[in-house]
Symmetry: C3
């Protein structure tokens, strides 16, 4: 974090707050937890169980509860708030605006927009972007440099595409969507028919629909559907380097951690959580609220709320128990061998 | 799929076919299986075992066999064909041309081509492409936006590079090759010598050769060889986010599913099939027609035709059997403990 | 490797070396091991234990030790050197300069540099690069085509960015760093707070620091920190398609093979080696010199020097032993069943 907040910025966020003490340096060097904070840092007491750290902290500014009995040390400033955690969120938002100022509205002179494309005047299109025929970019949506929109792509409002995002023809991106750098939306599905002349490609004529409030991590790839749609549901958050195959349907508010692989036609219902590097065979249905541990291999349908682990995947506690017993296999084999000798 | 086919388009594909019934909407809304089809959809009976679905389907247009006894319902049109599946393929091809019209021939004005590069006049080079010195682009080959060809790269004929493909110097791409968005061909191999001053990079002076009819998925990476070639054999199909190390040789007509990792100097003979997220240690040879299950870890040579699973990988049926027995470990340990008590 | 070295180039590298024999073709077709070399190739005897291959090799030029008793065959040239392996390194360096000539110094006319950015006059900025406000590119640093530097990015000296590298705002890249094509540095961290309105993004306000002599493989992603820094230590080498989460700290001289996933806030001390596709849960500390086998799943702290394998990860030898015993489970269950019958 760069040194770009000063005390006045913080004070102006909480004009009615009571304060005690003094903050010497004037510039805030960072935000940190109580124990890790350095002299110029801002910290906060969000949870009373960390009060013991308050006396040890070296932070220069602290957001503390209204009834905080501990007093600031020399060179420390306490700001008393009803909800210090919410206060921290305000500080972060202010900081975010300073660290990542909004991109300038309008189309960068180096970008190339086909005449039939429509870019809202409040949108921001970065350097070297290409926007294909009949594509639409909505209000307050931002494209970083080197983005590609094929023809007939729709981006709705308030979305952010980081540099180098590629959205292939006919795909649709909702409102308040974040696509990190290098994301590919609408790549060809992986499907081939066997024939005497080798594998024949099955054309993939569908699209990808990304609903509102979805976030997708860097270099993640989402394939278009064979005929209809690959769909990422409202509020779902996908991490970096994830693979999502053709015709996959992902529900609302799922969490999919980095490097997960989801094969074609898999259905994830709402609120499913998938740990990193887990994999799903094709045509599986995963019920609402299921949890899949990292690196698990899922080859069968999963019931709502189930928590699976391992490959082949088993219920979490059974999997844990088997892992413990596996460590005892050497002992079991030894004892078995000994008994045979004793017979 | 967008609404861009109408009944006349379909009829003109099968001018000699007998038809019965009527299709009301005129516009075709999609292609779908019998059970999933909606009113405006086209569907087909490719396999007699699905005849029972024919009476239930809501599809508006159906491709059916010549001898189909079931009659269309009101608002349904049947088109009688010798081979309905082949008929569907014709429909898909027509649709594909409409959904993905060919890119305009010629070099986009925003592209930059070095004077020593040769681009065939029938090729299409998209916006913001860079083509390096002495590189060649063959007949009817298409480059999407933001592609990079380093110097001395060769692309042969009828190939398609989606946006953002990067091909590093000296690599060679054959005919009828598809490279999806973000593919990297010819990245530096991962090889280092230990020394007192830390890891010293081993220069990688070879190239990558991609043979005819290969397809490579989005954001997949293929490293150049140390001295000679990393090679992807004719007709092999590689999915998204796959890693292929330096000096790997992959034979003809292999299938390599998403997120597979193949370490340096591995040899895959022809027709090997590798499930998603499987990994190969370096310098392994995998025999012709071998099958590797998803997430398997291969650390030894594999015989032709073998089917392996798990990590460490075992023959498929043994692996399955051990998985079943692992679930019984708690019971085995219990019974063993009980016997000891009974002794 | 292309035919771009001839005999005179090689001889001029070793002006004082004694030579015997004759090399017919004049052009060198490649570099290869003794057994794999073809007629036009250069090979070398780096280790006396391969002397038996010297009589069989078809290589046309050989780097051999000063005291080599075997004599060249007709059409072979021997160059006698104190250290043939070091000699090979000289040949490779010469070849590297010919195969990958340095990019032209200066800014390509198609690049876009913000007026507040500073590019050293000895740097090379390729086609369609974008360099954001207040960013700095140091001496002899090279950017391939289509690179993106956000605002306030620092690249120090002698570093190389291959095409399509994206470095997001405020990140810092050291000296002698190599970033392969498609690398993303500084993507948003994956962190969300649960709320009644779904997952709320936690802003990530920190940066990524890549220290000197680091190499990072194609399409690898490194997320920015929440407040401070994600850090890649001096001399660490990272392969392709690796995921490194927010706030991760990686020490000096680590080796991280392809497709590894490292979750948020993990600490890798110096000289840790991680095999391909291994994964780390969040907030783990891995001690100095630890080794993690490919595909391992690490969910707990790892002691310095430990060698772990499997998921759940176990000490390497225990893991190997358990794998052997698992193969014997069918036999154990059979014998156990039989004993019960005999009772």
């Amino acid at each position: 974090m760069s040194l770009i907040l000063d005390l006045a910025d913080i004070i102006s966020l909480f004009p009615d707050a009571h304060t005690t003490g003094n903050f010497r340096s004037g510039k805030i060097s960072g935000i940190s937890s109580l124990l890790e904070a350095k002299e110029g840092d801002l910290s906060f007491l969000g949870n009373p169980k960390y009060r013991k750290h308050l006396e040890q902290t070296r932070a220069g500014i602290l957001l503390v509860p209204l009834d905080e009995p501990v007093l600031p040390k020399d060179g420390q400033l306490f700001i008393y708030l009803e909800n210090p955690s919410a206060g921290l969120a305000y500080v972060c938002r202010l900081l975010e605006e300073k660290i990542f100022p909004p991109s300038p509205v309008g189309v960068h002179p180096s970008a190339f927009i086909e005449p039939t494309a429509e870019v809202d005047p409040t949108a921001s299109v970065g350097p070297f972007c290409y926007i294909g025929e009949n594509s639409k970019v909505g209000r307050n949506t931002t494209l970083g440099s080197h983005c590609h929109l094929g023809h007939n792509v729709t981006l709705r409002d308030h979305s952010q595409l980081h540099p180098g995002v590629k959205i292939l023809p006919h795909c649709e991106i909702g409102n308040y969507v974040t696509l990190n750098a290098g994301v590919v939306i609408g790549s060809e599905g992986y499907g081939f028919d066997q024939s005497d002349q080798g594998h024949q490609k099955i054309p993939h004529l569908g699209k990808v629909i990304v609903e509102d409030h979805v976030e997708i991590g860097a270099n993640t790839c989402i394939d278009r559907a064979r005929f209809d749609q690959t769909r990422i549901g409202h509020g779902t958050k996908i991490d970096n380097l994830v693979q999502i195959g053709h015709n996959v349907k992902i529900g609302r508010d799922c969490l999919i951690v980095a490097q997960v692989g989801i094969s074609g036609s898999v259905i994830l219902e709402d609120e499913v959580i998938v740990g990193g590097q887990a994999g799903f065979a094709g045509h599986i249905k995963v019920g609402k609220g299921a949890k899949i541990a990292g690196q698990a291999g899922i080859t069968k349908n999963v019931n709502p709320g189930e928590f699976l682990k391992g490959n082949p995947a088993l219920p979490f506690h059974l999997s844990q128990r088997i892992s413990v017993l596996q460590r005892k296999l050497p002992d079991l084999f030894n004892r078995f061998a000994q008994e045979k000798m004793n017979d």
